[in-house]
Symmetry: C2
Subunit: 379 residues, 2 copies
Amino acid sequence: MKNAGSVGIVRPEKIAFDTPLTLSNGRVLSRFDLMVETYGQLNEQKSNAVLICHALSGNHHVAGRHSAEDKYPGWWDNMVGPGKPIDTDRFFVVGLNNLGGCHGSTGPTSLNPQTGQDYGADFPVVTVKDWVKSQAMLADHFGIRQWAAVVGGSLGGMQALQWTIDFPDRVRHALVIASAPKLSTQNIAFNDVARQAILTDPDFNEGHYARRNTLPGRGLKIARMMGHITYLAEDGLGKKFGRKLHSDGYQYGYGVEFEVESYLRYQGDKFAGRFDANTYLLMTKALDYFDPAADAGNSLSKAVQHVQAKFFVASFSTDWRFSPERSKELVNALIATGKAVQYIEVKSNHGHDAFLMEDEPYIRAVAAYMNNVYKDIRS
Amino acid sequence: MKNAGSVGIVRPEKIAFDTPLTLSNGRVLSRFDLMVETYGQLNEQKSNAVLICHALSGNHHVAGRHSAEDKYPGWWDNMVGPGKPIDTDRFFVVGLNNLGGCHGSTGPTSLNPQTGQDYGADFPVVTVKDWVKSQAMLADHFGIRQWAAVVGGSLGGMQALQWTIDFPDRVRHALVIASAPKLSTQNIAFNDVARQAILTDPDFNEGHYARRNTLPGRGLKIARMMGHITYLAEDGLGKKFGRKLHSDGYQYGYGVEFEVESYLRYQGDKFAGRFDANTYLLMTKALDYFDPAADAGNSLSKAVQHVQAKFFVASFSTDWRFSPERSKELVNALIATGKAVQYIEVKSNHGHDAFLMEDEPYIRAVAAYMNNVYKDIRS
């Protein structure tokens, strides 16, 4: 974006909630923390707040840097900032780490107040509904009655959709990007392979690896390598790596042979070094369980019938994890019940990861939609 | 097929080769065995022989049963037998376990004559070219100068193609089914995740698990589960399992939740119990290396310019591992060089595994083509 800037140096904030939260599985968290970052100013009417929901491995650090030396900015820095599509000169933007996360919010690596030890595997499985419930408490904390917009890609888009169903009058606009109204059988299958890789790692120790000073890094690496392939399109992978060799000639062994192997192993190692395995397991389960139509007689139209939000739905041509067809299921259900929805299918060779990328028509579409959101809250 | 029967009780035969075989990587096998099954009678002119090449996890046991109590017949029993598309009343059909296999042919589980111990990880990485070389020695053993047809699906189809390039006058017809002229970047990436799962299993012991009395079953299970997803189409998976739960209601844990998880884990365990991990590694490398165009200036047309065989090429609409586009690359190269080729794209919801299934138009097309092969050898 022309003249677009950065939110600059940002500081996360941990917000404590001492009201008990009852989860979908019946268990109760007596208290919990949410790690949060905010950018921009909340206006007097508190009508300009935008919630950013993260995907499987995301967190509260959406934009800016934590210090001048920070190598990388937040995960959606190309989308959020002054003059950017989600314009922090106009909106008060809230990013959070979800419950069960491993970046400061209460999760498997936190202390269990009941035992004085880390939760580890004892942290309850949470659902998208649970997250939305906790995010509503976060809205209350800021005094936000209604979000101008709830925005998310992938698993984040599922939270945006769930918000409009569970709190119809608290969401003015929902931006659901590269998402799906529920996982396909293949999606669930891939998730289960990832989980099995972690669960069968001898260093997993039934999820209490921290106490035993082990790390199921092998399993987490395998899970991430596989996941990574499903985020990318053959188009993009082929263009970037093709069959390029890492060294001259074939090695006839099991070291790195093709460049794509080097790339994937590096990605896997990096992830295994920074992410918590129990959190990874939780996140994949939240994906599996998400199915708002199931609570409405398997009718997605029925599930969205009381929705008041207007929708922006975007999908990407080469996304085979959550293909355009999956977005259209949602679009069709919204149209069938007379809701306002704008839909764009973006031509991209970035696969599922396109929602994090710079494909120009996509960035422009979000900017245009958020411009209308801004007009809407000022009218 | 109407009136189609079984080849009945069959007996594998181990054939010893005492001529040294120089492999693509320069290493020499001083001797080797190939485990073989044959069905039907070789005619006097030795003109009716059909070679069946197997895919990643296949072997010599193509048709029939080893005993009356055998629960399952050979892996291509629906295709090979009296009155079946590859009609054993007409053809002498040869199935073999490839070099490096784990079903009786010389491979990682065999004794290394140099050391008196099992090869394990010391067994050399073999290529499709090496297999074809060894299969030519097998043809010589039977006195077969020219195969009426070389037939294979997936990795088997790659062998059929390599045969026509390396021994142009020894193949009359090649049936290349659900295959590709080389792996895509995504294919290689999935293979590497599978390998990493095996290589990083603590019980792998650098490939010498047999000597240490361990088995890298966890890794092999993960590899197979992931592989299995890539063999199936979402179409078929969705129809078979959808989001069906294994028990009533969500479990909110990491046991089996959805039916598809139960199915995949079962498949993974079964495979890990019957297949050798070193062989699995070898087979994936043979897939990765296969790229006949690479030896011809990256031109597939040049690679096939001296081919004399006529081709039957088949692909399946929902095969996303080796999509119809990949088959068309081969078809186009053959057409460009004036070769005879018949191509069929079969509508199927069985994904890559369709080549092993009963989709009627596919079975009928192979039967019709093999009928012409029979006419051809009698003319």
